[in-house]
Amino acid sequence: MSQKRSFPLYVTKRIGLAKWKYWLIRVGGILLAFLIAGIVCTMLKPGSFLTFYSEMFRGCFDFSDITTVIDLLVTFSILLLIALTLTPAFKMKFWNIGAEGQILIGALAAAGVAKFAPSEWPNILILVFALFAAQVASAIWCLIPGLFRAYFHTNETLFTLMMNYIAAVLASMMISVWIPNGSQKFGTLTQGIFPTILGHSGTLVIIFTLVIFVGMYFYINHGKSGFEVAVIGESVDTARYAGINVSHVTLRVMTVSGLLFGAIGFFIVCGIHQSFSPTIVAGKGFTGVLIAWLGHFNPFEIALFAFLSAVMECGTTTAATAVNISASRFTAICTGAFFFIIIACEFFSRYQVHIRVKEKGEVEEA
């Protein structure tokens, strides 16, 4: 028996939790998160509990103004795309947490092309070139840690994380080169921009997202590549034994990630913002990591969590103004509470916590 003073709590793996119970816990967690957001709002501004929910709803589903709904769907689309793009790498246990920078580099390339393309070119041609440049840039940014991991077994988590910072500095530097008056503001694009549909320039992004979603679904679940990724994720040795070249698959997955991150950067610059700044990805690259993980790499679950995050983000941003509190902090608190609770639910549905009861005859040493 244990001779050491042991911690009064211990956990065991939970076996055979019914699926409906698991989902009940999750739904309960989600509702709790939204409740906590309301309580936080009330604490910051007494009496604002109901205003919070009505404003939250108005910020997401104001049907008198279609563009509000499109704003929500665009936020949802970007989060969904990022999480989906991360999924193949995560499935093979390549922990890429550099989405933020990988998208930013693509966005930077797209912005450069859109800004400096000859104005005689038709808009569609500029868009094609911007997309191409973004994809090449992001693919290179993804392949650097991919190559190091494949050939030198470098830790990809630290490597990709570090490259986020390099990307951010590179973006700032390029702006100061492009904008010679020293103001460091890129301004808006006048060419290389998505058409406005239903009063919103991001409408096409939503449509492209649907297409990519279907494509990624089949890539992850039905293709040979998806199978190889799954095998490597289970066991690298098994994959080797089965004749899968792990290095090649790593590089392939990172190339695909890069192509998609480039497209996302292109969507953000030419579609949604029609502008560029070093903070334009706004942390979504990190939120995407959480969403991919919470969605168990299942595209439909990922879509659910991306949607809930988008509701949280758009809703709390609007609600913050109504109760006159700092938007970014309030959104950060609510999003933080949301993820914290969902992760806790995840933990408690996988593991059971027990209180250690002293057994008779057990001797405790001082």
Partner: protein, 411 residues
């Protein structure tokens, strides 16, 4: 899984149709003079940043002074990035029925302009921007204040203090370079607004202490505590006997206190750092906010505007400064009276040289047409003084000349 795909597709299609069905678009409120004005304000950060706090506080004061001319409390949106988020914020303010929408950050400009074109019945007023003059959008306005006057006055006050320290023999040998006293300035970007700011401050000090030179460092950020702290330290280590800054954090004032170097702050007074605090200058936006609302209420265009640009001055109460020493303040008030009367000019060409020569002509980049080249002759002669006519052709500063005696360290 196919079923799920179908559900998802149906859901999104449903959402879009539902939205399209109920979609009426956003209509800007039409304002009738004499009714309370609904006011919105878009801020790039929140009241934890001294820059935004200055705007928010000014709005609070203006709202109090305007009383019943304002409809309820102004709606303030904080932490609005200089991206399409600014347009989205403006849209929400339009939806909530705002008649006039203000924004406080330079990078908001393009998105404010986009919104102004979309909702012509709503007035859009952008502080620090440069495009209203050339945009030709009737309901889009720029505003700034001649803060170079405020910095000049704060510099003058600092010069009086420096003069006393020199007389008392408090300066060390390291504070001199070739017989000149070294000054330091922590700037944000090498941008006209910053260049205009540090040059006017330098000229203010030099009105009192003739033998000064200045080092300028840039932080490449409008708000970066560590960079501003390090900038101030670098300047102090290079011998600066007096430091000021454009940047907004407590980084530079705090470091000046540590290093024992007197400091002039911007946007916010910092007496809490102790005896190194000499004074400050800032823009008070309340007179502008009150002017806009009063003009709208009366059914007029914004009073005092030229080409949709409004420049606040010491005369309108927009330029504010203060210094700790009460005796000095009396002297500085005299200088201020001369500026208001126009008998003294900050950028008096007789008072500075460029490459050893006094300027007689300079084409300034006033029109923000994307070319970044000068097109407006900015040197004028009025009342016997030849000077650089700052903030006259548009509200935002356009003085971007590197004058003799000032060295940019890291640009």
């Amino acid at each position: 899984m196919k079923k799920q795909t179908r559900i998802l597709l149906a859901l999104s299609a449903g959402l879009i149709t539902l939205g399209a069905a109920g979609c009426a678009g956003v209509n800007g409120a039409v304002y009738t003079p004499g009714n309370p004005v609904k006011v919105g304000l878009i801020c790039v950060h929140n009241d934890q940043s001294t820059y935004d706090k200055n705007f928010i506080d000014s709005m609070t004061v203006a709202a109090k002074n305007l009383g019943k001319k304002i409809d309820g409390n102004p709606i303030i949106k904080t932490d609005v990035d200089e991206t399409n988020d600014c347009y989205t914020a403006a849209k929400d303010l339009v939806k909530q029925g705002c008649n006039v929408i203000f924004a406080d950050s330079f990078g908001h400009e393009d998105f404010m302009l986009k919104a102004a074109k979309e909702w012509p019945s709503v007035t859009f007023c952008h502080a620090t921007g440069t495009k209203a003059k050339v945009a030709g959008v009737a309901n889009y306005h720029n505003a700034f204040a001649s803060i170079y006057e405020g910095r000049y006055l704060a510099g003058y006050a600092a010069g009086l203090d420096l003069q006393r320290r020199i007389a008392a023999g408090e300066l060390k040998e390291s504070n001199y370079r070739d017989g000149n006293v070294i000054l330091g300035y922590v700037g944000a970007f090498p941008y006209a607004e910053v260049v205009s700011g540090y040059t006017s401050w330098f000229l203010g000090v030099r009105e009192v202490v003739k033998n000064v030179v200045m080092d300028v460092t840039f932080t490449s950020s409008w708000y970066d505590f560590n960079a501003e702290k390090n900038g101030a330290r670098t300047l102090a280590e290079r011998g600066a006997a007096l430091i000021s800054q454009h940047a907004d954090s407590m980084g530079a004032p705090g470091e000046c206190a540590t290093m024992g170097v007197p400091n002039i702050t911007y946007n916010v007074p910092t007496p809490e750092v102790g005896k190194t605090y000499l004074g400050y200058s800032k823009i008070d936006w309340a007179p502008y906010y009150e002017n806009v609302v009063n003009s709208m209420f009366a059914g007029n265009g914004i009073e005092g505007e030229t080409n949709n640009n409004w420049t606040g001055t010491a005369g309108t109460g927009s330029v504010v400064y203060d210094c700790v020493n009460a005796q000095d303040k009396i002297l500085v008030e005299g200088i201020k009276a001369e500026l208001v009367a126009g008998t003294r000019k900050v950028f008096d060409c007789a008072k500075f040289t460029v490459d050893g020569k006094h300027l007689t002509s300079y084409l300034a980049d006033v029109d923000d047409d994307g070319t970044f080249t000068g097109e407006t002759e900015a040197i004028v002669t009025q009342g016997g003084i030849t000077f650089f006519n700052e903030s006259a052709y548009r509200s935002a500063p356009y003085f971007d000349i590197k004058i003799d005696g000032i060295a940019q360290l890291n640009n």
